[in-house]
Point group: C2
Chain length 152, copies 2
DNA sequence: ATATTAGTTCGTTTAAAACCGAACCAAATA
DNA sequence: TATTTGGTTCGGTTTTAAACGAACTAATAT
């Protein structure tokens, strides 16, 4: 992999994750680890590459470790930790995100329940919206399960 | 609907939307309109209820109108606009959000393509991740279409 | 013409997120 | 014991988002 390609790519990943609610350095950090391998990168390498302060790297890294997206391996007699992405949880994470649909469904359902009108067009649309999200909350895990079965 | 229930509910919606990336007043505004009907609420009513400045309301409201989530009707000989939620786009919006999967898939695909190793475990995991998101990008619209067919 | 009213625009304040550097800790080394 | 190294913690600064208020526009009403 040529270095220019890596730098460009990491920046791309940074933007993508930034748009999806991650802080910029976390996004770049992920990008950098994506272009690396399972042997991992040291704190210093990351710090240098993403060009951020040690504290920023430390914080971003720890948050990602907490979330389970980043893991590290150690080598006895070597103080360094070798950080790498754990790609497995990404799939489960998506399944969890499907619970958004179910909580939105109950939010809408709650709304319907406190309304006086149950038969106005608006109330009907609310019920439909609730039903739609309930449906998604059911279907999403199903298709994910289906995929998991196909790839195991 | 009793007023306490409405106030509480609006706050709940506010929190939900805030957690999903909306500014607080926008969330409350949505909540207020959810507890209203298709006849709409005036700017002044919204302004009073969400207890925010006119400018905040104006900005939040206009953004939601741009996104198509809020519409308004007018009455000739009446300067006021009557704002209400349009619940129809919510469904389509979800379909659009499914495109997240496809763009993430290509981001990962791009990563695979610039890597030197194509057969390491990590590279294989990347490919799997890409495949998974491609799969979702295909399946999501399908299940949404299925629902749309069932409810039309 | 004057006054209201519905809503917008603009410049400022407030508050929160992101980041930084310096001081620090703890393990390993010399 | 003194030094280096890998990483954390803390306080402060910068940046960005959110909200505000006051001044403004444009339409209606008096």
């Amino acid at each position: 992999m040529n270095e220019k390609a890596r730098v460009d790519y990491v920046e791309k990943v940074g933007v993508f994750f930034e748009q999806n609610g991650y802080p910029p350095v976390a996004g770049r950090l992920i990008g950098y680890l994506m272009t690396s391998n399972e042997k991992g990168r040291t704190f210093y390498e990351i710090h240098q590459f993403v060009n951020a302060s040690k504290s920023s790297v430390s914080n971003a890294l720890n948050k990602l470790v907490e979330k389970g997206l980043v893991k590290y391996l150690t080598i006895s007699g070597d103080r360094k930790r070798y950080f790498f992405l754990d790609l497995k949880p990404w799939i489960g994470q998506t399944k969890e995100r499907a619970e958004f649909f179910s909580s939105f469904a109950s939010l809408v359902g709650h709304c319907v329940s406190i309304r006086d009108d149950q038969d106005s067009e608006f109330a009907r649309d609310l019920k439909k919206l609730e039903a739609f999200h309930k449906y998604l909350a059911e279907e999403m895990p199903k298709i994910i399960d289906k995929w998991e079965k196909m790839h195991s």
